[in-house]
C-alpha cells in the first residue's frame, strides 16, 4: 500500500496588522500529513494552531507560504470537512435537518443523503433522535450530531478545531475513541487541534507540537500505537513515556 500525501505546507506564515502593530500568528510552518493518518496540532492557546487549521480549510488566507490539499490550493470543498468547538447546530432545524445541511448547500441528491444521514446518526449512536431539536440534546449529543453532519458529504479530510474541548472529560474521552473508530472505519485523514497532551497522544498517529508567539512548529512526535485504542492503551508505560516526551517538547520550547 502506497501512502500519498494529503496535506503539504511549506513555510506558511500569517501576520495580522492591527493599528500599526504587526502580530505574527504563524511563522514558517512546514509539514506533511499522509492519507489515513490521524494527526494533532498541539499547543497552548495563542500558538496559532487554530489559525493554521483555518488556513488548511481555506477560510483564512496565509500571508506567505504554499499549501497543497490533495495537490490543490486550499479552499472550501466537499472533500474537506470542518468541525468546530461549538456544535453550531441550527435551532430551527431538527437533528436530521441539521445533518442534511451540507447536502442542501452542496446540492447533493436528497434521497441518498437522507438515507446516509440516518446511517450516520446510527453510527454516532443517535438513531431515534432524528426529529428532535438541538436544544433537547446534551452537549455531547450535539457534538455527535455535528460529527454526523461533517461526515455527510463523505469528505476525505477532517479538520477538527477542538471539537470536544467544551465537553466534560468523560464525554470527551468517549467521543475521542469513537472519532478514531469512525475515522479508521471510513478511512479518513484527520487533523485535530487540541491543547490537551493526553488527548493528542491518545488519538494521534503523529503529534505536531506548536509553540506560541510567534506560532511555530517545534517538533513532531510519532505515536506508534496501533488502532483501535481503548482506555487500556492509556494505562501502559509506553503511553506515559509518549505523554512526557510531548510535554517536554512543549515546556522546552515554551521558554
Amino acid at each position: 500500500m502506497t501512502t500519498t500525501t494529503v496535506i503539504r505546507t511549506e513555510g506558511v506564515g500569517k501576520t495580522y496588522s492591527t493599528a500599526g502593530d504587526e502580530v505574527i500568528a504563524l511563522d514558517g510552518i512546514s509539514l506533511e500529513v499522509r492519507e489515513g493518518e490521524i494527526t494533532s496540532l498541539l499547543g497552548s492557546s495563542g500558538c496559532g494552531k487554530s489559525t493554521f487549521l483555518n488556513v488548511l480549510a481555506g477560510l483564512i488566507t496565509p500571508t506567505v507560504g504554499t499549501i497543497e490539499i490533495a495537490g490543490q490550493p486550499p479552499k472550501p470543498r466537499r472533500q474537506v470537512g470542518m468541525m468546530f468547538q461549538r456544535s453550531l447546530l441550527f435551532p430551527w432545524r431538527t437533528v436530521i435537518e441539521n445533518v442534511l445541511l451540507p447536502a442542501e448547500v452542496m446540492d447533493l441528491a436528497m434521497d441518498e443523503s437522507r438515507a446516509r444521514a440516518s446511517e450516520l446518526l446510527a453510527l454516532v449512536g443517535l438513531d431515534g433522535w432524528e426529529s428532535r431539536y438541538p436544544w433537547e440534546l446534551s452537549g455531547g449529543m450535539q457534538q455527535r450530531v455535528a460529527l454526523a453532519r461533517v461526515l455527510l458529504p463523505d469528505p476525505d479530510l477532517l479538520l477538527l478545531d477542538e471539537p470536544f474541548g467544551a465537553l466534560d472529560e468523560m464525554t470527551r474521552e468517549t467521543l475521542d475513541l469513537e472519532l478514531t473508530r469512525i475515522a479508521s472505519l471510513t478511512r479518513k485523514t484527520v487533523v485535530l487541534v487540541t491543547h490537551s497532551v493526553y488527548e493528542a497522544v491518545m488519538i494521534s498517529d503523529r503529534v505536531f507540537v506548536f509553540t506560541p508567539r510567534p506560532g511555530r512548529l517545534s517538533g513532531i512526535v510519532d505515536v506508534p500505537f496501533g488502532r483501535p485504542r481503548d482506555l487500556e492503551t492509556s494505562g501502559t508505560a509506553q503511553f506515559a513515556e509518549k505523554v512526557s516526551e510531548v510535554r517536554r517538547l512543549m515546556v522546552e520550547t515554551d521558554r
Partner: protein, 279 residues
C-alpha cells in the same frame, strides 16, 4: 408536606388549592381591575365630575357598541380600514425587510444612510399625513402610504440588527460547507434574525393601524377613523366611544393573529442562532 398537613390541618391550604389559586390569580386580578374601572367610570358620570357629553355612562356606550354592529354602513367603513391597514402593513413589512436586509448586509449602505436613519427615526411621522393626503388624495391610497411610512421603520431596524448579530463562527461553518452568499443569507442569517424580525413585525402591525387611522382623521371619505371623526363633530359621544372600542378590538385581534403566526414560525424562540455548549 405531610408534616404541615398534620400540624395545621384546619388552616393551611392544601397543595391543590395553592395550584388552582396560582392558575386563576391572574384572570381574577384582571377581573377585579375591570370592575373597579367600570365603577370609577360610573362614579365619574353619576357624580358629574365628567360631563355626559364627554363621557356617557357605560350602559349607553355598550348599547351604542352593539347598535354599531347592526348597521350595514359600519361594515363598509370597517372593511376600508382593514384593507388600508393590511395593505400598508404588507408593503411596509416588504419594504422594511428589504431595506433592513440591505443595511444588515452592507457596511457601506449603513455608513451612507446612518444620518438619514437617525433623522427619520426622530421625525414624528404623523406630520407626513397632510402631505400624503395632498399628494395621494382622500381615498385609500394616502392612508396606505401613511401606514407604510410608519410601519416599515421598526421592521427595518429589527431586520438590520437581527442580521448583524449572526454568529461569525456559524458563517465560517457555512463557508466550510462551500455555501454561497445566498445560501448563507437565507439558510443562516435570515433564520437567525427571525425572532428579531418578528418582534419588528408585531410593532409594524400596530403602527400600520395608527398610520391608517391618522390618515383618515386628516382627510378621508371612509374608514373607522373617518367615522369616529364624523361622530365626534356630531357630538354623538356614545358612538365615538363605541368606535374607539371597535378599534381597540381590531388592534387586539390583529396582534393575537400575528402572535400566533410568530409562535408557529419562530418556534425555537430565544434559543439563539446556534446552541452553545459549556461556554
Amino acid at each position: 408536606m405531610t408534616l404541615t398537613d398534620q400540624s395545621t390541618t384546619e388552616t393551611a391550604p392544601t397543595g391543590a388549592d395553592r395550584v388552582s389559586w396560582r392558575r386563576f390569580r391572574g384572570p381574577i386580578g384582571a377581573a377585579v381591575i375591570f370592575l373597579a374601572l367600570l365603577g370609577f367610570w360610573v362614579w365619574l358620570v353619576e357624580s358629574e365630575t365628567v360631563h355626559r357629553v364627554i363621557l356617557p355612562p357605560p350602559g349607553e356606550v355598550a348599547s351604542a357598541f352593539l347598535t354599531t354592529f347592526t348597521e350595514g354602513f359600519f361594515y363598509e367603513h370597517l372593511w376600508v380600514t382593514v384593507q388600508e391597514v393590511l395593505l400598508g402593513f404588507a408593503i411596509g413589512v416588504a419594504l422594511g425587510f428589504s431595506l433592513g436586509a440591505l443595511l444588515g448586509a452592507s457596511a457601506l449602505a449603513r455608513e451612507v444612510s446612518y444620518a438619514y436613519i437617525v433623522a427619520f427615526q426622530g421625525l414624528p411621522k404623523i406630520v407626513l399625513a397632510p402631505v400624503f393626503i395632498t399628494a395621494f388624495g382622500f381615498g385609500m391610497m394616502s392612508k396606505v402610504v401613511m401606514a407604510v411610512a410608519i410601519s416599515f421603520f421598526p421592521l427595518l431596524i429589527n431586520t438590520m440588527s437581527g442580521l448583524m448579530t449572526v454568529d461569525p463562527e456559524a458563517v465560517q461553518l457555512m463557508r466550510s460547507l462551500t455555501a454561497s452568499k445566498r445560501d448563507i443569507f437565507w439558510k443562516l442569517s435570515v433564520k437567525h434574525a427571525m425572532p428579531s424580525i418578528f418582534a419588528g413585525v408585531k410593532t409594524s402591525l400596530t403602527f400600520a393601524l395608527v398610520g391608517a387611522i391618522v390618515g383618515e382623521f386628516v382627510g378621508a371619505r371612509a374608514g373607522l377613523g373617518f367615522l369616529l371623526a364624523s361622530y365626534s363633530y356630531q357630538l354623538q359621544v356614545d358612538r365615538v366611544w363605541a368606535i374607539t372600542f371597535v378599534l381597540a378590538l381590531l388592534g387586539i385581534i390583529l396582534y393575537l393573529l400575528i402572535e400566533w403566526v410568530d409562535k408557529k414560525v419562530v418556534f425555537w424562540g430565544k434559543r439563539g442562532s446556534s446552541i452553545d455548549i459549556g461556554m
